[in-house]
Amino acid sequence: MSAYEAIILTIITASTPLLLAAIGELVVERSGVLNLGIEGMMVMGAVSGFAMAQITGSAWVGILMAMVAGTAMSLLFAFMTQTLVTNQVATGLSITLLGLGLSGLIGSGFVGMPGIKLGYVSIPVLTDLPYVGKLVFGQDPLVYISLGLTVGVAYVLKRTRMGLIIRAVGQNHDSAHALGYSVIKVRYACIAFGGMTSGLAGAYLSLVYTPQWIENMTAGRGWIALALVVFSTWLPGRLAAGAYLFGGVWILGLYAQGMGMGIPSQLLSSLPYVATILALIVISTNRRLSVINTPASLGRGFVPDR
């Protein structure tokens, strides 16, 4: 494998968890809900995925478990914010705090264990093609799943009746309710989808990116995914581009550290966080773009009158 292939491969690996978590949150926000609990759902996905893979010996069972764990956390969030109409910001934070604590507790017995790594896809002939073979046909399966999800979400939101309903609920929940759509049910479903992809993103970290369990191994990626959704102005295509851009920044920092150019490692480690702030500034200066696509009911609770 040449150096350029290696760099692109690592960028894709660093971007995929961001994309997975962010594509779910994009749907959640399109339905008018702000779930700040991504970090917590993700870290729960990471730990339960790792634990289940250890117990069963299968990375795929781990991934399934991670999706269940992420969804379970998100349903807790949904119950709180949709059924009990609690403050979405505070509830999301509580999901994150709870997830970070609970994952530490669950994972305390798994620290330092050698992990199980999800294998790469291998298609005869295609994967062996020079230059592009490994990059296009030789990734791990979750990379393809993340891209498939992105295309699927873009299609559903833009071209289907379901997408129209989701957007209507997010734009104006009162009108959607008046039209006879169940705002709460739609939001429950979207939140659960977001939880599932966050769990998947967590599993990616503990079963592919660095196949082991480290406390707080999400390292703020859940928050960066949230920022990516804002950065994408709620458009899936732009989201994927943003995720790869950020994956690139992350890897750039790691590579520069490896080369030891005398730049403090902490400065390089802080690059993704600095880049997040800069990206948010850039996107916010273009108010027209943000205002057009921001779901109008974002973050507002809905209580049906009866």
């Binding site: 700040l36 807790l76 709180m80 059924t83 009990l84 109409v85 609690t86 403050n87 910001v89 505070a90 509830t91 934070l93 509580s94 705090l97 709870l98 997830g99 970070l100 604590g101 609970l102 530490g104 507790l105 305390s108 390292a219 703020g220 928050w223 949230l226 920022a227 804002v230 403090p264 902490q266 400065l267 480690s269 802080s270 966080y273 600095v274 997040t276 702030i277 948010l280 500034i281 916010s284 200066t285 108010r287 943000s290 209580v303 009866r306």
Partner: protein, 357 residues
Amino acid sequence: MQLILEKRAQASRLMHFASPLLAITLTVLLGGVVFAAMGQPPLTALYIYFIDPLTNLWSIEEVLVKAAPLVLIGVGLSVTFRANVWNIGAEGQLTAGAILGAIIPIFFAEWQSPLAFVAMLALGMLGGALLAAIPAFLKIRFGVNEILTSLMLVYIAQLLLDWLVRGPWKDPHGYNFPKSVAFDGWHLIPMFGDGRVHLGLIIALVTALILYWVMHRTIKGFEVRVIGNAPRAGAFAGFSQTKMVWFCFLLSGGLAGLAGIIEVAGPIGQLQPNISPNYGFTAIIVAFLGRLNPIGVIFAGLLLAISYIGGEGVQIELGISDKTAQVFQGMLLFFILMCDTLIHYRVRLLKAKGGAQ
């Protein structure tokens, strides 16, 4: 069966105060279940967790030491959240305060006078306020979401501290440990007696009382509540949303920074990579549990401080991961938000489907 909410005509005063108690009860109950699930005797574990810390002088002192930063940060956040401004980067502001305040003991070690200590506190506040000014500025100038920016700055501030204590600020005679020089003399916070309780506790309590007075007896407090509850009404009354964002961030950031320098000048005594067991995040729970009311925050701060000591207790006595504390804290915030629904709504279970619709 379906759960439905009925809006109360008036917010329930009773539930306003009963909700935190209910939340604490639920946390203790579920906590017992968690302990049982881990194969521990639930009652013994709960006793060690919640009661033991209050049974001897040593641990009571330790509770007070931990309560000081929680209350100090929590009161700032309570005002901020009241105004519907979301500063969740207090952990970073705490770090920034510790860094800036530490300039005096690290670079002016000779300057030994009470004034040096006051300067440290002032620099600490300045450090926290400066870091908090970034999300405030970005929100006002560009409309950038303050939740994300304030949180990103936590990671940046912690990495900056890490670099300083491993690099330029490392104690040259410290056997290469990532620590600054040990603070000394007037650069350490005055202690009470020969225990561990220090002046920071008084500072926290006085700050809480002052902010209580500000919130309930002055026009500024009224402004905070109006803007928080009804931004449009606030605008008609001539209250500036922009100034409110600045006020909240500078206040909560300054107090978090103050807590930071007090921590390093007190219980820790020097700069090191890790200076806070997530006080800045736990203070968010403190603010909510304390009803976003400065006096309530004092009690909430004490309770959360117990949760830290209790977590250490079960770790030592039962060999459970110290993460238990974080789980309890998360559960507590969860239940408090859940119970707060009862302030504005009555909850009913509808038996047959479609009856009321």
